[in-house]
């Protein structure tokens, strides 16, 4: 617990720094001794998990902090063994079914059902139900979501499910309507700056406001990132300078460079280079939609409005197709190629206009 992100994480609902009204509501709900299934959603780094953990602590007391890692083996109907790691306390269990990839349905059916079927062992425990936290619920396959839906209905007496998702567009309506949706929006700039300042105070450092603001802007509403940036800055240089450079992520730089290469030259040979760079990004585990977003943001910079609309349309088209196919690289490259074609045509037209 020594990275600042972990160290200064609030651990009770009352200590949360923003969305206080919501925190109060949650506290209200828990105090009645029961709550429905929850679907917590919001952008990455907005503090969903923190909020859930505070909720659990409110519900069960500090006992939830005695955590242990468990590895479980689950066998699919097709006899494939899946290894799943769970984090659990006496009162709750956290699992990320999308670790199992395509077989997440089995995880839902086997693991969660087993947990849900067993009653709370400790009769003196305050609650008669366990909580199962399912991370990355938006990455669950449709099959898994359907299976979950049934489980939610069946074992409501012994188990509550908290789903964590970045976006609920991909959560099927059947699940959405069974859960109480809790939206956790990203903190705004001022809130981030305040938090950064308070972290620095606790560390005994002084943080110039300009730097805090730059970090807040660069973090783009992602609090985790903001605090990590802050710590990186501290390691790089202390005392802080107001004009200090804020380190950025390597993959972002790489992505931006790739985009620049695309704008610079359009030819099949270049495309081949771009392909290897895209491959490189994917090897490093950057999902294709992030690559798409990054490329799009960079590529449209030099274009006029009409071109922008064209490119955005292409991007949406190809990005959607990724989900219909199985080889993201092809779709990414198709987008790059069609951008090249459009851009080249546009450039030729402008050059022709000049003369």
């Amino acid at each position: 617990m020594s990275l600042w992100v972990d160290k200064y994480r609030p651990n009770s609902l009352t200590k949360l720094d923003y969305h206080k009204a919501q925190a109060l509501h949650l506290k209200n709900m828990v105090q009645q001794g029961d709550f429905p299934h929850l679907l917590v959603y919001g952008p990455s780094g907005a503090g969903k998990k923190t909020r859930i953990f505070c909720l659990l602590r409110e519900l069960y007391g500090p006992g939830v902090e005695r955590l242990r890692l468990e590895h479980m083996n689950i066998q699919t109907p097709s006899n494939k063994k899946i290894d799943i790691t769970t984090v659990s306390s006496n009162y709750h269990l956290e699992v990320n079914p999308s670790d199992a990839g395509f077989h997440d349905r089995v995880v839902i059916q086997e693991l969660i059902k087993t947990v849900a079927q067993t009653h709370q062992l400790d009769p003196s425990g305050q609650r008669e139900f366990k909580v199962v936290v399912i991370c990355e619920a938006d990455c669950l396959t449709k099959d898994a979501q359907h299976a979950l839906r049934r489980t939610m209905e069946k074992y409501v007496a012994t188990c509550r499910i908290i789903l964590v998702a970045n976006t609920i567009s991909r959560v099927i309506p059947a699940i959405r309507s069974r859960c109480l949706g809790v939206r956790v929006g990203a903190p705004n700039k001022e809130e981030i700056i305040n938090i950064l300042q308070s972290v620095c105070r606790k560390e005994g450092l002084s943080l110039p406001n300009e730097l805090a603001e730059r970090i807040a802007v660069q973090s783009n509403g992602n609090l985790r990132r903001a605090i990590l940036f802050l710590e990186t800055c501290k390691v790089q240089q202390y005392p802080f300078q107001p004009d200090q450079k804020v380190a950025s992520h390597d993959w972002e730089i790489y992505l931006k460079d790739t985009a620049k290469m695309i704008v610079l030259e359009q030819s099949p040979q270049k495309l081949l280079q771009i392909r290897s760079r895209l491959y490189e990004l994917m090897i490093h585990g950057i999902p294709s939609e992030i690559i798409f977003k990054g490329l799009l943001q960079e590529l449209v910079k030099n274009c006029d409005m009409q071109l922008k609309t064209q490119i955005v349309e292409k991007a949406a088209f190809f990005e959607h197709r990724i989900h219909l196919g199985s080889k993201p690289i092809i779709h990414l490259e198709a987008f790059v190629a069609s951008f090249m074609a459009i851009y080249k045509k546009f450039m030729e037209a402008t050059v022709a206009d000049l003369f």
Binding site: M1, D6, H71, D250, A334, K345
Partner: protein
């Protein structure tokens, strides 16, 4: 029966081949039996020949002889021609002479172990010399003549490969019968799952048939092995190499002493480059089948035609042979077909018929080549010559006319050609990957990149199609896949020779991706639970890890730890605790140059760093070493502390029955049970009370403070010299 109908030329040919062969055969160790058979055959043939000569002396118009006609018709109903005209002995084989001999020679090498003929060694030398003299050079197949310690040939498996219809199966059968084996055939129609396969292997190679006239050793022929599952082929390889660890096989073979394959195995495949066969290829004797010479085939066809009383000529048959790519089977089928229509076979008929076209599987590379290269018109049979590339897009007026059909330049025929080749190959996914990885390096003119982007859109479509097919098992969409190749052909093909590389990038990327995922999983596995609960893999990858790399590099001087300032120490401690939280440490590794470096383990640098980027700052070797040691120490300290708290906790809970540490315990005198009875030599109970002196003595010992434990229990105490005086002093106190 049919032998009677054989013509003169055929026999001449046969006789000549016999004379050519007879030496070889004679030199090999031919048992009496075989010789006898040979002689019988020879006599039979002579008789036949005489008869045939008689017949052939009759006028040629006897073709229409009614007896002959009815007879053949009778046979028609009974037998396919393919079966009927299957060669009946080694000498009748049509296939390439070299391949035949190599296989036979290889098979003869087995004689030592199978038939236990030792004198073979001497003869083998002769064979060798002859080999060298006569056809060693012209044969591409390298046959290793040496025998291993068990007396088996070095290459225990022969792999016959070549396009269908050249007579591979026939050859295998003929040769092994010829060499005195009983053929056991396993083909695609049999169950070839690994387990069944293994039992079959064992049965075939370790037992011999008891049925039949003379029990002969088995020779296993594995037909169509390229279609067998890879696991089965693995079984075969292990079996052949004597490494099979399967339970059944093991125990059985141990009884026989050494798990060695003692019977020849012949495998037959069409495509030797199937991935499943890769490892088999390395240990097997590969006999490539060159296509049968057209003339030879035509000759044979002519024989048969004559026998079946079909009016035809050599030219037509040559064309037929060429058209079918020298596939004996399909030629025979065509002939059969013509025969059943009772028509004459002419050149035109052959050209018109589409029957000769067969579903020929080509290698992946030839398919890719066809996609990327525009074929020049073939001028062998037809003289229509087009100008070069300029008019390649001209639509041809009449596609059904003969010229158009055989002209490879028209758009439609190009499309048909590509479509057909791709459809024949069938492995669309791999084909697509190959096109995808190669098309950008092709030389095509596309300055505006429209072709590329259009082509890539087709790739998307193809990807979606294949995904759909695999995800829903909806094979109804399969026929649409090849059309993408046509599009790519039109977009990217040129006249120049395409340089095609095997598509491996996709696979490599997958492997690397998996490795990265593995690292991440490793990292997650060991993270402190409280940290772990707030981290998921994606977040770690995007946000935490890249910055973590920088956070873990504080500015430290390369001096001893004692010399650090307070701030440096604080930094160091911070780094160490972060590393423990995230399950990181430095491990020493040796580079290729022989230097030692410290790498992070799990190596998150691999995850977060991109090629061409360098980490902003690096720690020196000494610093890493220092951190590594400190991390270990800190970990130890923490576990100790945890244990401490745990024991504390247990102590609190179990206050009542406190367990004293060993050194504080005082001994209790062992109660000697009073019931214990002493018996004298004869087993009578001896009544014998303790003397009071004894009792007093024990009491005294028990009560005194000083105890001497001799070899009692386990102690990890520190050794230290203690004087007896000290002990006495403490005793006195």
């Amino acid at each position: 029966m049919y032998v009677r109908l054989r013509s003169e030329e055929y026999f001449e040919q046969q006789i000549s081949s016999i004379t050519a062969q007879s030496r070889t055969v004679g030199l090999l160790s031919v048992p009496y039996q075989t010789l006898w058979e040979q002689a019988q055959l020879y006599i039979q043939k002579k008789l036949d020949q005489e008869e045939a000569e008689q017949r052939s002396s009759e006028p040629a118009t006897e073709h229409t002889d009614s007896g002959c006609e009815t007879m053949s018709e009778e046979e028609d109903s009974a037998d396919l021609w393919v079966e009927k005209y299957r060669p009946k002995s080694y000498l009748e084989l049509l296939s390439d002479e070299g391949a035949n001999r190599t296989l036979l020679h290889w098979l003869k090498l087995w004689d030592k172990i199978v038939f236990n003929r030792d004198r073979k060694v001497k003869q083998k030398a002769k064979v060798d010399s002859k080999n060298e003299n006569r056809f060693q050079k012209k044969l591409s197949h390298v046959l290793n003549d040496g025998l291993d310690e068990h007396g088996c040939p070095q290459q225990k498996v022969a792999l016959l490969c070549g396009p269908p219809g050249l007579g591979k199966t026939t050859l295998a059968h003929m040769v092994s019968t010829h060499a005195g084996y009983n053929v056991v055939e396993v083909n695609a129609s049999d169950d070839r799952s690994p387990d069944v396969f293994r039992t079959q292997l064992e049965a075939a190679t370790q037992m011999r048939s008891v049925m039949g006239m003379q029990p002969r050793p088995n020779c296993l022929v594995l037909d169509e092995i390229d279609g067998a599952p890879a696991a089965s082929i693995d079984v075969l390889i292990k079996f052949v190499l004597g490494k099979d660890t399967g339970r059944g096989a093991r125990s059985k073979k141990k009884g026989r002493g050494g798990g060695v394959l003692k019977r020849p195995v012949i495998c037959i495949c069409n495509d030797v480059y199937v991935p499943a066969l890769r490892s088999l290829r390395q240990i097997a004797l590969i006999v490539q089948f060159p296509p049968t010479a057209s003339s030879r085939l035509a000759q044979r066809l002519l024989e048969i035609a004559r026998k079946q009383c079909i009016r035809t000529d050599m030219g037509a048959l040559l064309a037929l042979a060429e058209k079918s790519h020298n596939d004996i089977r399909s030629c025979l089928s065509v002939l059969h077909f013509f025969k059943s229509r009772k028509k004459d076979v002419r050149l035109v008929d052959i050209q018109k018929s589409s029957i000769g076209q067969k579903d020929m599987q080509k290698g992946l590379f030839s398919v890719w080549q066809e996609v990327f290269q525009i074929q020049r018109p073939r001028r062998k049979l037809f003289s229509t010559i087009l100008a070069k590339g300029d008019d390649r897009l001209q639509p041809m007026p009449d596609l059904n006319s003969l010229e158009m059909k055989f002209d490879d330049m028209s758009l439609a025929s190009r499309m048909l050609g590509v479509l057909k080749t791709v459809q024949c190959c069938g492995d669309y996914d791999r084909l697509m990957q190959g096109v995808y990885e190669n098309f950008l390096s092709m030389s095509f003119r596309d300055s505006r990149l429209e072709a590329v982007s259009l082509g890539l859109e087709w790739f998307c479509t193809a990807d979606m199609l294949s995904h759909k097919i695999h995800a829903t098992q909806n094979y109804i969409l399969m026929p649409y896949q090849p059309f993408a190749f046509v599009m790519w052909h039109f977009l990217f093909a040129s006249f120049s020779w395409p340089k095609i590389t095997y598509p491996s990038t996709g696979y490599e990327v997958i492997v690397k991706e998996q490795k990265a995922r593995q690292i991440l999983r490793e990292l997650m596995r060991g993270m402190a639970p409280l940290v772990r609960i707030h981290a998921n893999p994606a977040q770690l990858l995007f946000d935490t890890l890249p910055l973590l790399l920088q956070i873990l590099v504080p500015t430290l001087r390369s001096v001893s730890m004692q010399l650090y300032s307070a701030r440096e120490k604080e930094d160091l401690n911070h780094v160490i605790s972060v590393m423990i939280d995230y399950n990181l440490n430095y491990v020493q590794e040796r580079t290729l140059e022989g230097n030692y470096i410290y790498n992070l383990d799990p190596n998150i640098e691999e995850l977060a760093l991109f090629p061409g980027q360098k980490p902003a700052r690096l720690l020196s070797y000494a610093n890493k070493q220092l951190i590594s040691r400190e991390v270990e120490l800190e970990k130890m300290r923490r576990t100790e502390a945890r244990l401490q708290t745990d024991t504390d906790a247990t102590k609190e809970t179990s206050c009542s029955n406190t367990v004293l540490p060993n050194h504080r315990q005082t001994l209790q005198p062992k109660t000697i049970s009073a019931e214990m009875q002493c018996r004298d030599f004869f087993g009578r109970v001896v009544q014998h009370g303790k003397t009071p002196a004894d009792r007093a003595c024990t009491d005294e010992i028990v009560k005194s403070d000083i105890w001497f434990h001799y070899k009692e229990g386990f102690s990890n105490a520190v050794r230290r010299s203690v004087k007896i005086q000290d002990l006495l002093n403490s005793g006195g106190m």
